[in-house]
Amino acid sequence: MSERIELDITLPKETRYLGLVGQIGESMARALERFSGDREELAYHINLVLTEAMANAIKHADQPTSTEVRITITLARHKLTIRVYDQGQGFDLHTVSPPDTASLQERGRGIFIIRAIMDRVSYRKLKSGHVLEMEKTLH
């Protein structure tokens, strides 16, 4: 039987907590019992995806009523699922273009990075707010 981990984290909607959520992801990657790949790379990637997704939620969740960000991290049957909930206006995942080195934009690499690391990325509207859902199969 493969291991099952479920973390449900609620944090203030502030960038000072990006390091904390990243550390939680890194620690989880190092603690996995069954993973045959490059563990340090996985730790960095989970840290990065959590950091990018939470920063994105802070940026798009500009409603004064929402002061928290909720993140769930689930590992079940070798599949890692990270969900980041925001209360804001939302954005269109498909209008985020890949970074263009020629024009050297300062912004817009976050979603590109998440897509490069994770197998499947979706952004859905909920009754209240949105959820950015990211999945990756671990071997």
Binding site: G19, G22, E106, R107, A116
Partner: protein, 113 residues
């Protein structure tokens, strides 16, 4: 943000003393670089030896500095990238944009050729 700035002749060496360069502190770095440009400095080396983690906004602050230096006929070079940080530049293809040196000494010497 913990940052050390040393002038070495015509080159300014900026050493980032934070383990993480992310959306929490990248704005600080961008502001510090802008004040150096406004003070007439346009040749810079950013020493990232102490940085273990960089996200897209950290990369954005470095791109901002690179563009400002280039616009002033100067140059912003990077040094001391940890392997995981280097891989971020490769992932976003920014390793083709920046001049990257193993050590700050080599980056500074490259201005004197």
């Amino acid at each position: 943000m913990n940052i050390q700035i040393n002038e070495q002749g015509a080159v300014v060496l900026i050493s980032v003393g934070e383990e993480r360069l992310d959306a929490h502190n990248s704005g600080d770095l961008k502001t510090r670089l802008l004040s150096l440009f406004e003070g007439g400095k346009n040749n810079m080396v950013i020493n990232l030896e102490g940085v273990r983690f960089v996200d897209s906004s950290g990369l954005g602050a470095l791109v901002s500095g690179f563009k400002n230096a280039s616009a002033r006929n100067g140059s912003l070079k990077l040094a001391g990238l940890q392997p995981q940080v280097q891989s971020m530049f490769e992932l976003t293809r920014l390793h083709r944009v920046f001049e990257i040196f193993p050590s700050p000494e080599e980056a500074i010497a490259s201005f004197q050729v």
